[in-house]
């Protein structure tokens, strides 16, 4: 049974058709990867699915409900969360506070209680904080809870965004290049984090440039090129698809790949 279905999505910016009739379906509990060369439209597609862009045509169905024109807030309520390729961390807050913002929808939002700091607010703050610490530990950031987010290294910020997105208790988590700019060690850590998340029953959709990461952890891969679907299948199927190789390495890439030493 699919948790997320995308049908014939299309969006154009001026004369550029960024996404042109893309369809796919993500099964519950799988790790689904979107790959493609630079400018293929991966992030644009993510922005449409997460409600930041409104598609010109097509349909997005989340867990049986048509959510095509929903705002990000509405999608968050229905169990969708995401991270960002170019970090969107709350830099003036501590690591723990970043994750605590992710608990927003699960907290009592009565402003008058907040103004008066009623005992229930303190109790809730403690619960939220405890949950944030658990999530920081899950992504391997135990011990930095009270550090300012602005003082954390790049790889840690990537994981902080994952912890923050998980704090919303999503059914489906969109990860936009979780390993971009990370060194091999950091990439491996992120790899492990993604597997842990998937093992806890969260469906993961990721956009990623690091092919080794994608091939290692994805159940299925959807390949985009210039806004259109190029191929879809398992890692082995995609790797051996001539159209995919051509898109990545250019017309002569196939010959080049064949002649390259392993």
């Amino acid at each position: 049974m699919s948790i997320l279905t995308v049908e014939n999505l299309r969006i154009a910016f001026g004369g550029v058709i960024a996404i042109d009739g893309v369809s796919f379906s993500v099964r519950r509990n799988e790790i689904f990867a979107l790959i493609g060369p630079n400018g293929a439209g991966k992030t644009t597609l993510f922005n449409m699915i997460s409600g930041l862009y409104v598609p010109q045509s097509g349909r997005i169905v989340l867990d049986g409900e048509d959510v095509t024109n929903f705002t990000p807030q509405e999608l968050a309520r229905r169990g969708m969360s995401r991270t960002f390729q170019n970090l969107q961390v709350f830099f003036r807050m501590s690591a723990a506070e970043n994750v605590m913002v992710g608990r927003h929808l699960h907290e009592n939002r009565n402003v008058f209680a907040h103004l008066l700091a009623l005992p229930s607010v303190h109790a809730q703050n403690r619960t939220t904080r405890a949950r944030a610490e658990e999530l920081l530990a899950l992504v391997g950031l135990e011990g930095v809870a009270d550090r300012a987010a602005s003082s954390l290294p790049y790889g840690a910020l990537k994981r902080l965004e994952i912890a923050r997105a998980l704090a919303t208790e999503p059914k489906i988590l969109l990860l936009d290049e979780p390993a971009a700019g990370c060194n091999p060690v950091e990439t491996e850590e992120i790899d492990a984090v993604i597997k842990t998340i998937a093992a806890q029953g969260v469906t993961v959709v990721l956009v990623e440039h690091d092919m080794r990461l994608v091939m290692r952890i994805s159940n299925r891969i959807h390949v985009l090129d210039r806004g259109r679907t190029l191929a879809e299948g398992s890692a082995a199927e995609v790797r051996s698809n001539p159209a995919v190789v051509t898109a990545y390495l250019g017309g002569l890439g196939e010959q080049e790949a064949a002649r390259a030493r392993d």
Binding site: L52, F84, F90, H104, N108, R109, A113, L115, A117, T168
Partner: protein, 314 residues
């Protein structure tokens, strides 16, 4: 010291102690009055800081709310026969309501555009009080009836010192409460990344509006207090210059710092008293001092000192 700066509740305690003990060392009524004016300005800046320092939305029109508070306590008793305290509450409610109505459309804007829109709102309010001369006295201003509470007239610098000091402590406590709550975290999240806040389910438009309304309420109360203390109101209470002064106080003391709001207000109220020795060059010297502060302490006085203490051997 470090823990003191980090714990907001100790800050409130310290502030309460300062308010309680300061009258013992203030040499004359003149100083009591100056400090009362500091507290009143600090209350307005605290509100503005909620909007600018925490939620990250600029306003160049807050003198408009200050003026509504000020004129409410002048006009309410004269034209509507309301008691002073009821006029004060009415003015506060009116400011909140206006912020709610005006905030909805203009908070869709950001950056320079929001600055211009709020400026326009402030100028409009200022024009109304200046032009409706037969009601407000126009540029000449009008007398403000003394506040009467429980049958006694509230006058005198020391009385207003206590009223404004206690209100400031309560105001600071409310801001602290808010900042350490889901609402405060939503404000700060919006400041850093609206997109991320939205994706996490934060209703960005609602929280921006809330910050705007709350800041209008704080500023409006400050406006009422100031003219009740003075016994007189002029259109200066709604002027663009006052809006700028409030922003300078917030930035100078430190955006997003509660103590900074008070320090910023104190500097901008007290410094000119000492700069009178420069006669004609008073404003030039004040401007130069502000520029020097902002060059060397760009994050504001209190945050800069706090990070200095944090780095040093604490």
């Amino acid at each position: 010291m470090r823990r003191c700066l980090n714990s907001p509740f100790l800050l409130i305690l310290a502030l309460g102690a300062v308010v309680a003990l300061l009258p013992l060392i203030l040499p004359s009524n003149f100083y009591v009055r100056v400090v009362a004016i500091v507290y009143i300005n600090a209350l307005a800046v605290l509100g503005l800081n909620l909007l600018m320092g925490f939620a990250g939305q600029v306003s160049l029109g807050h003198a408009g709310f200050f003026g509504i508070g000020a004129y409410a306590v002048a006009l309410g008793p004269v034209y509507l026969g309301l008691p002073g305290w009821a006029s004060l509450i009415g003015g506060t409610a009116l400011s909140g309501l206006l912020a709610f109505v005006v905030g909805r459309p203009i908070l869709r804007l950001s950056g320079y555009y929001l600055a211009i829109a709020t400026l326009g709102m402030g100028v409009l309010i200022s024009m109304v009080v200046s032009n409706e001369a037969n009601i407000t006295g126009g540029p000449n201003g009008m007398e403000v009836p003394r506040l009467v509470l429980f049958g006694s007239r509230i006058t005198g610098s020391l009385t207003w010192y206590w009223i404004s000091g206690i209100t400031l402590v309560i105001g600071a406590l409310i801001v602290v409460n808010l900042i350490e709550s889901p609402t405060g975290r939503a404000f700060r999240a919006i400041h850093d990344s609206e997109i991320a806040a939205r994706v996490l389910g934060v209703d960005v438009a609602r929280y921006k509006l809330l910050a705007f309304v709350l800041s209008a309420v704080f500023t409006s109360i400050a406006g009422s207090y100031l003219v009740l203390l003075d016994g007189f109101v002029t259109p200066n209470t709604t002027s663009f210059l006052l809006s700028i002064e409030l922003v300078v106080m917030a930035v100078l003391g430190g955006l997003g710092s509660i103590l900074g709001s008070i320090v910023g207000a104190a500097i901008l109220v007290i410094l000119p008293q000492f700069l009178t020795v420069f006669h004609d060059y008073e404003h030039a010297v004040l401007g130069a001092i502000i520029i020097v502060f902002l060059i060397f302490l760009p994050s504001g006085i209190v945050p800069a000192l706090a990070s200095l203490i944090r780095r040093g051997p604490a």
